[in-house]
Amino acid sequence: MLVAWVCLSALPAAASADPEARLHVSLEPDRPGAETTIGFAVQVLPSAGQQLPPALTGVELRYPSSIGVAVSGLGLLTCSERTLELRGPGGCPAEAWMGVGSVLTAIPLGAASVYEQTTASIVRAPETGNRIAMYFDVEGDTPVLAQLVLPGVLTATKAPAYESLDIRVPLVEGIVGGSYVAVTDLHATLGPKSLTYYERTSHGFVPYRPRGILLPSRCPAAGFRFTVRLSFVSGQSASSHTRVGCR
């Protein structure tokens, strides 16, 4: 297994009075010049004395612009929000899929909390305001049957060496009139691992593995730097960064 969770550092930047974020990033494979699948894992920790972190409203994942997300072979077709809502990710074309993931949510119920593991499907969305867009379809069935579609867009940052994937997270009430559902763990892989696309040829549809996210032929000596910044409904924020090296 070539999975390499090469986390040279994972430094939560928030003080204990605020929620904390912990980011881990993996590249599979992690060779220079490779077509890779990027794995993200974000752990959200509550403020001191709190049982759960506040409800999440946004995720900004900053990555080096030298990594070829836009020219990967992922998301050659798009899937509409309506299709996701009516038919789920299974209703999307195979060539719209860009990755998969999971989200652990916590539903506050008085002094206790109920946790729900949900699955996430990442598909290419129609462009949004001249920006490359994707949807994160999050679905859970136990104990609460629910589906959420989270829009995400690639955004240029002020620092030209970086760009970001900005994900907007809608607020969801755990029970009617109750507290909002909290997110405690996010996992996602963006890349061709476990994806199969189909190309139409004179012999019919031929399956192939899409090209992954492109790494440059030289990796930075200190590794690629990734940063996550979480925004919460409370107005608080938390961030964490990590560096991922190449072999």
């Binding site: 072979g73 077709l77 760009e163």
Partner: protein
């Protein structure tokens, strides 16, 4: 494939002193050189990838036809914003430039539009400056790029 939209021969000579409405920029160029010219019309380049791909950076080259005839080499940085550096080689001289463009559309064919800025040149285009509109489409399966610059009277040499 060649797409050609020209005004006259594509190279419009302007006697600056005879046109009082000419911009100050063009006037200053014209007074120094007697003649100034604008690149008008559309130049279309069909580029192919020159491997290897360097992460988000694509090196491309191919022929250009239309208002300019020759070859183009391009270094394209793709991402949330597309940027690039270009060298256009023609019989009359080279044009160097850079561009930036916003991506449009979705799926296999990713289009983009923005502007091209001439940063220098050689030969006939040694004094080139100004900007043109920039359009393009990248085929994300093959990395082939169709690139189009459309002169709008602001590319002066």
């Amino acid at each position: 494939m060649l797409e050609l939209i020209r005004r006259g021969d594509g190279r419009r000579l302007v006697r600056a002193m005879a046109l009082p409405a000419m911009s100050a920029l063009l006037l200053s160029v014209a007074m120094g050189t007697t003649w100034a010219a604008t690149l008008s019309g559309t130049a279309t380049a069909h580029l192919h990838l020159v491997p290897p791909i360097e992460g988000s950076t694509l090196y491309e080259e191919g022929p250009v036809a239309g208002a300019l005839t020759g070859t183009v080499k391009a270094r394209l940085q793709t991402g949330a914003l597309f940027t690039g550096q270009f060298t256009i080689r023609t019989r009359s001289g080279n044009i160097l430039g850079r561009g930036s463009a916003d991506p449009h559309g979705s799926g296999r064919y990713q289009s983009f539009s923005g502007s091209f800025v001439a940063t220098g040149g050689t030969g006939r285009y040694a004094r080139i400056h100004g900007r043109a509109n920039l359009y393009g489409v990248i085929d994300r399966r093959t990395d082939a790029v169709t690139l189009q610059t459309v002169g709008n009277g602001k590319l002066i040499y």
